[in-house]
């Protein structure tokens, strides 16, 4: 199992892994406080300033899976994979407006999760449960996919185990991660994120300078990629691929960007990273500076084209980046790059497990099983749940085909977008009623999921063309991302029902609670 091991790369890789393990355990003493309190363990005491939040959110949102999957998509079909760029452009102006309001109301009322806010705003425990379960359901496969990213780079190091031994390295990595997350809470990924993000920046800057030099410049890269796509289309390997979008890809490109942007900050791990900030000012600062990561993501996407131009041989498109790194760099730097990607899996996996654990504890267990929980009991339970979530992710990787996790993650985006109306409209108005939003959510979940199912595979987009009872034949003439189609239906249902069912449930928030002091 070690015959083909790249020794130099592995030594560098293990060195960085050991370094962040030490940091992860030391993190429990950083900004020292009582980690027996859930606000400290699960949100770092809401004391992370602008810069810490920048590293944490950057490390949390731009994950190892992203570093593997986006270039893999570009490698496979070209321009379409670039949807990640408009997606991450449109998200920050929107977050600039919405997130400081969410932070302000959460700070005032001690909300830690999306479910907490929804309960306070609409006074509806079932809507709270729906929001919480959606978050947990979408997060589990996402954590599992971080493991896929980790496993890809470990395979590229030349480790080749058989059967269960194949998974030994990621099991060790995840057990270590689980232990320091258990001990240090959100402080651990926040501290590791500094190392991870710095390494990713070094990796990408080196890649974007050195690889085009080796391949004869960007002109040669794009020309070679163009040829490769033409060959794929001629061989009917893919329906459409190229350096620009085919006409049929434009609708999906735009709607995927909008729908993904609506979903991203509904995920528990994104809200955990946001609410741990120390002020609305820190969040606004981040909406202006996080695009730096988007720029890096755009450059990472180009690695897919470079892998085509370099002609690296891959089993699946997800091997494109690891194989390109091996092709382009000396062993020691390949080890460094792989360590950067691996840490890129650990930071989000830790924050995701904390976000899911906070959500389960506060919005499932506490209201429905044990209402009289103290913050100390909440913290104890959340720590255990964070372990269970990680073990669950390991089992997904052990016993399910990888494609199943990929499909679930794809559906996860469709599902997360369905809590957008309850969350974001709720930041501005209490016009919608909780029950109407719950029915809208259910409609969106069912329609979004069923649109995604086809006999061959789960697919993210569906033609906007139906024969409906009463309405008749409906054809918008383009295909759209199912998450967006479903959330539009969700909003229509919630609006109509809110007109009919006026809400009399209590609202514990006041308009002033949302005010973000811009002048501060």
């Amino acid at each position: 199992m070690f015959e083909r091991l790249n020794v130099v790369a592995t030594i560098v890789f293990v060195f960085f892994f050991a370094l962040v393990t030490v940091l992860g355990f030391l993190a429990s003493r950083w900004k020292a406080a009582d980690l027996g309190h859930i606000n400290e363990w699960g949100l770092g005491g809401r004391r992370f300033g602008a810069w810490i939040t920048w590293f944490l959110l950057g490390g949390d949102l731009y994950t190892a899976y992203t570093v593997i999957a986006i270039p893999a998509l570009v490698y496979g079909v070209g321009a379409f994979g670039f949807f990640a760029v408009p997606y991450t452009i449109i998200i920050y102006p929107f977050l600039y407006l919405a997130l400081p309001r969410l932070w302000a109301v959460s700070h005032k009322h001690g909300y830690m999760t999306a479910g907490d806010f929804v309960l306070g705003r609409y006074g509806n425990g079932w809507l709270e449960l729906a929001v919480a379960l959606t978050g947990i359901l979408a997060t589990m496969p996402y954590i599992a996919l971080q493991l896929v990213g980790l496993e890809k780079v470990i395979l590229a190091l030349g480790f080749s185990g058989q059967g269960m031994m194949q998974h030994a390295p990621i099991t060790i990595a995840f057990v270590v991660l689980a232990l320091y997350t258990y001990k240090s809470g959100l402080r651990a990924p926040a501290m590791i994120a500094f190392v991870k993000d710095a390494m990713i920046y070094v990796f990408i800057i080196a890649a974007i300078v050195i690889i085009p030099y080796q391949l004869g410049g960007f002109g040669a890269i794009f020309a070679a990629a163009d040829k490769a796509f033409a060959a794929k289309v001629a061989a009917h390997a893919v329906p459409a691929a190229g350096l620009t979008l085919a006409p049929a890809q434009i609708g999906p490109y735009i709607t995927l960007a909008i729908g993904s942007a609506m979903a991203l900050f509904m995920y528990p791990h994104a809200l955990t990273g946001t609410l741990s900030a120390s002020s609305g000012r820190a969040i606004r600062f981040n909406t202006m500076t996080l695009p730096a990561y988007s720029f890096v993501l755009g450059l990472i996407a180009l690695l897919g084209l470079m892998a085509l131009a370099a002609g690296v041989k891959v089993g699946t498109p997800q091997d494109a980046v690891p194989q390109l790194v091996l092709w382009a760099f000396p062993d020691w730097f390949a080890g460094f790059c792989f360590a950067a990607i691996a840490l890129g899996a650990l930071v989000p996996a830790a924050v995701m497990s904390i976000g899911a654990a906070n959500t389960f504890t506060r919005n499932v267990w506490k209201p429905f099983i044990h209402p009289a929980m103290t913050p100390r009991e909440e913290s104890a339970l959340a720590k255990i749940v964070s372990l269970i979530v990680k073990v669950g992710a390991l089992f997904v990787i052990f016993f399910m085909p990888t494609n199943f996790a990929v499909d679930l993650q794809l559906l996860g985006g469709v599902w997360m977008a369905q809590i957008f109306p309850a969350m974001i409209f709720g930041l501005y108005t209490r016009w919608f009623s909780g029950w109407a939003l719950l029915v809208g959510w259910a409609a969106g979940m069912i329609v979004g999921t069923s649109l995604s199912w086809t006999e061959k595979a789960w697919v993210p987009v569906h033609a906007l063309k139906w024969d409906l009872p009463l309405i008749g034949h409906l054809d918008f003439g383009f295909a759209a991302y199912n998450g967006l189609t479903a959330v539009v239906l969700n909003i229509v249902v919630a609006t109509i029902l809110s007109l009919v069912l006026r809400s009399k449930a209590p609202d514990e928030t006041a308009p002033a609670d949302y005010e973000d002091s811009v002048a501060a």
Partner: protein, 62 residues
């Protein structure tokens, strides 16, 4: 003004037919790619500008 500054980069980013062309190239990079990459820092700057406008308004109204 603040909302216009926030809106414009979003509209451009989503207007895919606008930039779905290969030329003009810069250093061998087709328009589709470099235009979107350049739009990222521009969008960050417009958020910064919107923030300045918003804060100036908030201060002057006090």
């Amino acid at each position: 003004m603040k909302y216009l500054l926030l809106l414009v980069p979003c509209v451009i980013a989503l207007w895919a037919p606008l930039y779905n062309v290969a030329s003009p190239e810069i250093a061998g990079i087709p328009f589709f790619y470099w235009f979107q990459l350049v739009l990222i820092p521009i969008s960050a700057l417009t958020i910064y500008a919107a923030d300045r406008v918003g804060r100036a308004r908030a201060c002057s109204s006090v």
